[in-house]
């Protein structure tokens, strides 16, 4: 297993290197003077000169890359030319928001999808299974930008249970933070529940027809034990793979929900920066998101080895 993980880790380093080169080239592939691209058209000649000095824009490209990479390793991703905010600060404030949204939404998704799939897979095509399958199919067809306004109309404006918009950092007020994050998280959760439920249900139905399950039953094991100990683990491969892709897509991919709920997460900041051509912000966020995605896939690979150690025998 160690060799497998080391090999994966080396692959991760190579991919991270390629990502860093691509992100670095983002600014340089754009037409025109990089200092205009970075500072915008309205800045002064003095500031352009300072930028040239800071980034070594008069040096060969490979040297510029290492200057940039050195700055990245020191936590300096540059600053927004629009409001001069440090990109590191934008990432540091936005990333935890995305992370929290993802964690809450995925916890809810797993908490709903897994028990439901375990129950319905035991008696497929019965009433509960039909209702669940149809409902999740409906959820799959509802994108967050449809669900969010409906939830706001019902739970915020109608019932006054939750705020319509807003965000308080967890460190500032944990209770308010969780309260504020429920609607945005639910808006993201719906699609995940549908995918996870349908995949797990399908795999469980297949697993429950295997010989080792028949043997477990013949040994007199209870249903709960059979489902959790014997059926769930071998059925969770597809679920794990889907979760990896889904969570990866949610990294900075929650911008629609963040836009609707006015939460300044990483996705929202990225879209804003793209719209305003704030290239250093785009570059910094793209780098962080891409690296986070690669790290996430590494974790998923590791979890595969936990679920089924045979994957290490390549």
């Amino acid at each position: 297993m160690t060799r497998y993980l080391v090999r994966r880790l080396l692959q991760l380093v190579v991919v991270a290197f390629i990502i860093s080169v691509l992100c670095f080239m983002l600014v340089h592939l754009l037409p025109g003077d990089p200092s205009v691209v970075i500072l915008g058209p309205n800045d002064t000649a003095h500031n352009r000169a300072v930028l040239f000095q800071q980034l070594g824009l008069n040096k060969p490209l490979y040297q510029q890359y290492f200057v940039w990479l050195g700055a990245v390793f020191h936590g300096n991703l540059g600053q927004s030319y629009l409001n001069h905010e440090s990109v590191t600060h934008i990432v540091a404030t936005g990333f935890p928001i995305d992370l929290e949204l993802i964690i809450i939404s995925q916890v809810i998704a797993f908490a709903v999808a897994i028990p439901l799939a375990l129950v319905t897979s035991r008696r497929p095509n019965r009433a509960l299974d039909n209702v669940s399958t149809t409902s999740t199919f409906g959820l799959l067809a509802l994108p967050p930008f449809v669900i969010a306004p409906i939830m706001v109309a019902v739970f915020a404006v109608g019932l006054h249970w939750f705020p319509a918009t807003g965000y308080v950092p967890f460190s500032q007020d944990p209770a308010t933070n969780l309260h504020d994050m429920i609607l945005p998280s639910l808006a993201i959760t719906a699609g995940s529940i549908a995918v996870y439920y349908r995949l797990l249900r399908s795999d469980l139905i297949s697993t429950l027809q295997e010989d080792f399950i028949t043997m477990a039953r013949s040994k007199g094991l209870g249903n709960r034990t059979i489902m959790w100990r014997h059926a769930f683990r071998p059925s969770s491969f597809s679920l794990l793979a889907a979760a990896g892709v889904n969570i990866g897509a949610l990294l900075a991919g929650t911008f629609i929900v963040e836009y609707l709920f006015a939460i300044a997460g990483l996705g929202y900041s990225l879209v804003q920066a793209v719209q305003q051509r704030d290239y250093l912000v785009v570059q910094g966020i793209a780098l962080v998101v891409a690296i986070a995605y690669v790290v996430l896939q590494f974790i998923i690979d590791f979890l595969f080895t936990v679920v089924d150690p045979r994957v290490t025998r390549e």
């Binding site: 309205n42 629009l82 409001n83 706001v152 404006v157 918009t165 807003g166 006015a262 300044a264 929202y268």
Partner: protein, 540 residues
Amino acid sequence: MLGAGGASALAGCSSSPSSSSTTSSGASSSGSKPGINTGTPNKGGSATVATLAEIDGFFPPSNHWDTNGFLYANTVYDPLMWVAADGTVQPYLAKSLTSNSDYTVWTMTLRPGIKFSDGSDLTSSVVKNNYSALAASALTGTALKGITSVDTPDSMTVVYNLSAPRPSFAAGLTTQVGYVVGQAMLDQSAAGKTPTPIGTGPFIYSSWQPNDHFTATRNPNYWRSGLPHLDQITFKPIPDDTQRAATLKTGGVDLILTNDAVTITEFTGSSQYQLVDSLTGVIGEPSVAFIMLNTAVAPTSDLRIRQALAKGLDVNQILKIFGGGLTESINGLFLKGSPFYSSTGYPTFDPAGAKSLVSQYTAEHGTPALTLTTVTDPRLERVVQVIQQMWNQVGFNITVSAIQQATLITNFITGKFQAATSYQFGAVDPDLNYVWFSTTTVSPVGGIGLNFPRNSDPDIEFSLQSGRTSSSQSTREVAYKKLDQRLAADLPYLWLEQYPFAMVGDQRIQNFAGLTMPNGAPGYGFDEGIIFPSQMWLNG
């Protein structure tokens, strides 16, 4: 609301807050008009205001202030001049502003004893240094062209020397170039650092998390006695119109800014909310929505095509479908009731006439094909699809394109468009719009030009100069009526409607649209969404 915000950022930075300001129906406060409460104010408390979008910064020489930007600016800064309720421009941070007999030398005296939030003094040298930074900026320098030098004969006096008479000079100081920041802020910017807002305003900058919130706390040493009433004010950008309204309804904010016809209609007449809008009582020029036509590229360079596009556009039908009856169609820059309003001769809806003109053009050049561009906004995209249908019916081959606002603004500046939706021109004085219409700001396609449609009409330049240099109201009325008539003849703009702005407050927030000028005169407290937070207070 039909206009795309294509030029809004630029309009906000080098144009001005307009003087269209009034109140409309809705719940009243203490027997006053909505948004205005002249009763005894409560002291203390914290209010939250939802804005349309985030701004790009607080530094006047380099940041693009739209309505949201002016809201932030009125929180931590003060303008040198502002508009009184009677439409006259009066001193605000300045104590007085007078001119010589031919309006070429303007002398400003400052109020003594005013300090910036960092404890430094407001002096003439700080004002002059602000001017220097603004004049050197590519963004704001155009608005200050014509000022040949600025003198500071003493610490409280600033003298502006102009190259030509400009009776409307004072109005220019109500715009972004009239806001004064502290010397330390100028120094920070010059050193390439991020300038932290330092102003003389009613609140002191506390924190700003872009796209999340901007918070300012009461300035205990504010130069206006007894102000501000609030201890703290927070602005939260909520870009989605529906969510902004929902947040007000759920008590998440006390006050919202909106330019959404649906939201304005929803809250109009409500007994639970106070609504103030910009749709009546215009003195200067309101912001108007239009389709801009590039006169420097084919086929819109042909006057017959521009006439056909105007005649083939049923604006009233569009407003009926999308505007909810909130606004009416317009025939030029000025609204009925304005001294500058006239029957401009702007073409009326005439599909037969449009078809005839298109036929003439087609016989010479083939079917006219052009791209109508708007910003990526689902509602605007639906509007332009209806316009596309109307124009195709009279013989055009129209392609619709939706792009990001920043890209559209760049395309305007460089003239790389054929037809595009936008809104602009809100201004206290018509002269503040000089740069957008002048022949001196026309550039070839590909070059940088503030006359976006590249319409070079000597009669327009003559009218603009006449209006700019004359102090005679009758001469100025003639000049700006002529401007409007020439625009109706040249057709670089197809007029749509007045662009609406509104503030909606709950019953807790009081006097958000009320303003008393430093000299005690009533001021324009609601100027197309721009308010003065210093005089608002909380009920109960």
